[in-house]
Assembly symmetry: C2
Homo-oligomer: 428 residues x 2
C-alpha cells in the first residue's frame, strides 16, 4: 500500500517513507510508536546509543532498590516488536543537504527526521565539581550506588524536586543526608510560599537542610560552603538539566535559550526536521511533555498537521511520602489574581486512613482558572490532571464549583468536602 495515499504525505509516492528518529527517551520512543500506529508502512528507524529505555524518574528510587535498576529499564523488544528498526550508535552529524544522519559507523538517509536528543545533567562551575556525582541515567545510578555502598554521610547539592527525592531514598537506606541549596527555599520558584513551607516542614525533620547556602568548593569527602564545611562520604549535585541541542545547532538549526526552536507543528527551522522532548526550547522538561511532543512530532512528520497540545505544566513530586503538585501558574507568576484554598481529606474524615489534602486554585481577573497547587498523601496527581484540563479549557470559577463529583467513604472526602469545589467556592 502506498503510504502517500493513506495519510496525505506526498513525497516519494510508491516508495516507503523513511522516518529517522534520534534519541532513546520517551519523546523518541513514543514518536516511533505513533508513526508506526498511524501508518505501518512507514520505515521508522530509531537511532539510540543505549540498550533498553531507562525510566529516568525511577532513578532516585533505584538508589534504594525500590524498584531495582533492571526493572526500570524497559526492553528494546517492545520497540522492535512494533516493526521499528533500531540502530545503536551516537549521531555525530546531521547532513541536511544529503538528508542523512551519521553515526560512528554508518550513514542513514531520511525523508523526515525527528530530533529527540533529550537533556543531560548540568552542574555549576564550582571548583572541584568533578568530585560530585550526578543522577540522570542508569550509569549514574550504578556509580552512586557504588559510591554510597560504604558511605554513611551523603551531601546533596540542590533541593529541587529530584534532589529532595534522592534525599528521601538515601534516608530510607539509612544514610545521614545534608541538603545544600543556594536559594532560600526548597523547590525554588516552583510553588507559592505556603506550599513550600509544608514541604520544608517535612524535609527539615529528615535531613540537615542548609538553605541560602553557597557551595564554594568541593573536595573529596568535603563540601566547603559559605556557612561552613560539610564532611560527606559521597557528594551528589542535582542542579538542573540542559537540552542536548548541540547536534541540531551544528547542523545549522535554530536554537533558543532552552533548546531547539520549534513551531507549533513541532517543526524546526528545517521543514523536514522536527524536534520533541527535553531537547526543545521549553523550560518544562518533563517526561509527560516529551510524550505529548513525541506524538505531535510523529503526526506532523507524517503529514498529519497537528498543533502542539496546550502545555499546562502539570507536575507532581514526592516529599518523603507526601505529594506536591502544580499546574499552570503560581500565585506569584499570575500577578493580579484571585485565590481560593481549601483543606479536606483523602477519605471521609472519620474513615480509617483519611489523610489531609490542601488545594489552592488561582484565577485571573475574569475568574478563569490559571493555576493550581495541591499538597497531600493521596489523590494529588489525578486532581492536578483535572485542573490541567480545566486550565486548558479556560474554565471559570463557577464551572469548577459546579463539578458533579463522586463520594465514597474509603475513596474520597465527605460529599460536601471535595477540596477542588471548596477552593473554587472560597475564592476571595
Amino acid at each position: 500500500m502506498v503510504h502517500a495515499f493513506k495519510i496525505g504525505y506526498i513525497n516519494i509516492v510508491g516508495e516507503k517513507m523513511k522516518l529517522v528518529i534520534i534519541g532513546g527517551g520517551p519523546a523518541a520512543v513514543i514518536a516511533a510508536f505513533t508513526a508506526k500506529s498511524i501508518d505501518s508502512n512507514v520505515d521508522v528507524i530509531l537511532v539510540k546509543n543505549e540498550k533498553g529505555v531507562f525510566v529516568k524518574c525511577e532513578a532516585p528510587y533505584n538508589l534504594a532498590g525500590m524498584p531495582k535498576l533492571e526493572d526500570a529499564v524497559l526492553p528494546d523488544e517492545m520497540i522492535k516488536e512494533k516493526g521499528i528498526n533500531i540502530v545503536y550508535g551516537e549521531v555525530k552529524e546531521i547532513n541536511r543537504n544529503k538528508k542523512s544522519v551519521k553515526t560512528e559507523n554508518e550513514e542513514i538517509n531520511y525523508d523526515k527526521l525527528i530530533v529527540a536528543t533529550g537533556a543531560r545533567s548540568w552542574v555549576p562551575p564550582i571548583p572541584g565539581i568533578e568530585n560530585a556525582l550526578t543522577l540522570r541515567d542508569a550509569d549514574d545510578v550504578k556509580k552512586i550506588k557504588e559510591k554510597i555502598a560504604g558511605a554513611n554521610k551523603v551531601a546533596i547539592i540542590g533541593a529541587g524536586a529530584i534532589g529532595v527525592e534522592i534525599a528521601a531514598q538515601l534516608k530510607k537506606i539509612g544514610k545521614e543526608v545534608t541538603t545544600i541549596e543556594l536559594m532560600p527555599t526548597v523547590l525554588p520558584g516552583a510553588y507559592d510560599e505556603e506550599f513550600i513551607k509544608k514541604a520544608e516542614a517535612i524535609i527539615e525533620k529528615e535531613v540537615n537542610l542548609m538553605l541560602s547556602t553557597k557551595t564554594l568548593e568541593i573536595k573529596e569527602g568535603k563540601v566547603i560552603t559559605d556557612k561552613g564545611e560539610i564532611n560527606a562520604d559521597a557528594i551528589i549535585a542535582v542542579t538542573g538539566v540542559r537540552a542536548n541541542s548541540e547536534l541540531a545547532k551544528n547542523a545549522g538549526l535554530e536554537v533558543g535559550k532552552y533548546g531547539v526552536t520549534i513551531n507549533e507543528y513541532m517543526q524546526t527551522s528545517d521543514e523536514n526536521i522536527f524536534a520533541a522532548g527535553d531537547c526543545t526550547d521549553t523550560r518544562i522538561k518533563l517526561a509527560t511533555n516529551a510524550v505529548m511532543q513525541g506524538k505531535a512530532a510523529a503526526l506532523n512528520a507524517l503529514g498529519v498537521k497537528t498543533k502542539r497540545y496546550k502545555e499546562t505544566g502539570a507536575m507532581i513530586s514526592d516529599i518523603f511520602g507526601y505529594a506536591i503538585g502544580r499546574v499552570g501558574k503560581t500565585e506569584k507568576e499570575a500577578g493580579e489574581c484571585k485565590v481560593g484554598t481549601a483543606n479536606s481529606f483523602s477519605k471521609y474524615q472519620m474513615h480509617p486512613g483519611a489523610e489531609p489534602i490542601t488545594v489552592k486554585l488561582i484565577f485571573d481577573k475574569e475568574d478563569k482558572l490559571v493555576g493550581a497547587q495541591i499538597w497531600g498523601k493521596e489523590g494529588v496527581a489525578e486532581r492536578i490532571n483535572l485542573l490541567s484540563l480545566a486550565i486548558a479549557k479556560e474554565m471559570k470559577k463557577e464551572e469548577i464549583a459546579q463539578l458533579d463529583y463522586c463520594a465514597h467513604p474509603s475513596n474520597t472526602p465527605l460529599p460536601f468536602s471535595e477540596p477542588i469545589v471548596m477552593a473554587a467556592e472560597n475564592v476571595k
Copy 2:
C-alpha cells in the same frame, strides 16, 4: 443591615427573612450553610427529627466498626455554631396558605421553604419481608449489629452497590455471607458487562452469590428462593430507596415518579417552596447530588437565581477493596456510540504497589464524551471526577487525548500510560 438590599430578595424589607428547611441530611444541612454564608441576616431554621447528622454512606462500614457509629455522626454543634436554628421534630404538615410548617409541638412560619426530606429504604412486598432488616439510618446500624452479634450466617437480599459493601464488611468480621439477587448480575444496570464481570469475579470468591434468584418468602432464620432455601441467622434486604415525598404531596405540591417535581431553579410547583436531595424527582439519589442541590436550592430561595448544576451522575462504590466508578451513560444506555478502553497501572508498573486500572470512555457519534467507567484500586474517584468535568463541558475525544497530565513513579502510571488519554486514543 437590611437583607433585601444585600442579595436582592424583596419581600419583607427591613425584616429578617425566614428560611425554613425540612430535613437533616446533606441537602438540608448544606442548604442551611449556604443560606447563612451568603447572608448571615437570614433567619435559617432547620427542622429535623434526629440529633446529629448521620453520614449514611458509612453505614456498611459501621457494621465492622471502621469507623465506629458515633464517629459517623456529625454533631449538630457544627450547624448551630453558624447561627442556624434547629427545631427538633417531625413535620406533619405544610400549610401553603399560612406559609407555615407544623411539627407535633409547634407551628413555624416561613418566607421561603426548602423541602429536603430525603429517602428511605424500600423493600419489595415479599411474604415475611418484616423478618428482614434494612440499612440506611444509624438506628438500622444498631439493629443489625445486635442481630449479627451472635450470628454466623447472614443472607443479604440485593447485590446493588450497598448490598455488596455490606457483604464485604460482614465478611471482614467473619460472617458467612449469601447474597441473593433477582437480576442476572451484581450492580444491575449500573455498568457495562465487562465491568460487571470484574466485580463478580471478586465477589463470588468472597460470598455465596446467587444471581437470577427470586426470593419467595422470608422466615425467621430462613430465606426461601426459587433456587432453594438459605438458612441465615440474620437477613438484610437492600433493595433500593424511595423518596420521602408524601409531605410535599399532601401539601398539594406536584410529585413525579421519583419524588418532588422541581424546575431548573430547584423550585416546586409552589414558588415559595424549593426542594433538594433524595426527595426530589431524580433517579440519582446520591449524597453529592444532594449537596449540590442543597446549595442551589438555598441560593434560589434567597433570590440568587441559580440553575441546577449539570448532573452527570458521577459515582463510585467499593467491591471488596476495589473501586468501581461511573459517570454519564453506560455503553448500553448511550446506544449508537464509540468506545475506547485502556488498561494501565496506578503507579509506574515497576514501582512497588502498582495496581491495575481500567478506563472505558464512551463517545457519541460526534466524538463527544458521554460516559465513562473505571475499575481499579487507586485513583478511580478522581479520574471519574475529571471525566465528569469533561462530560459537563461536552469535551471531544481529541481534547481528552491531549490532556497535559503529570507523571511520577509512586503517584501515577508511566508518562505514556495515563489510561484516560490512552482510552481516548484507542477509540474505535
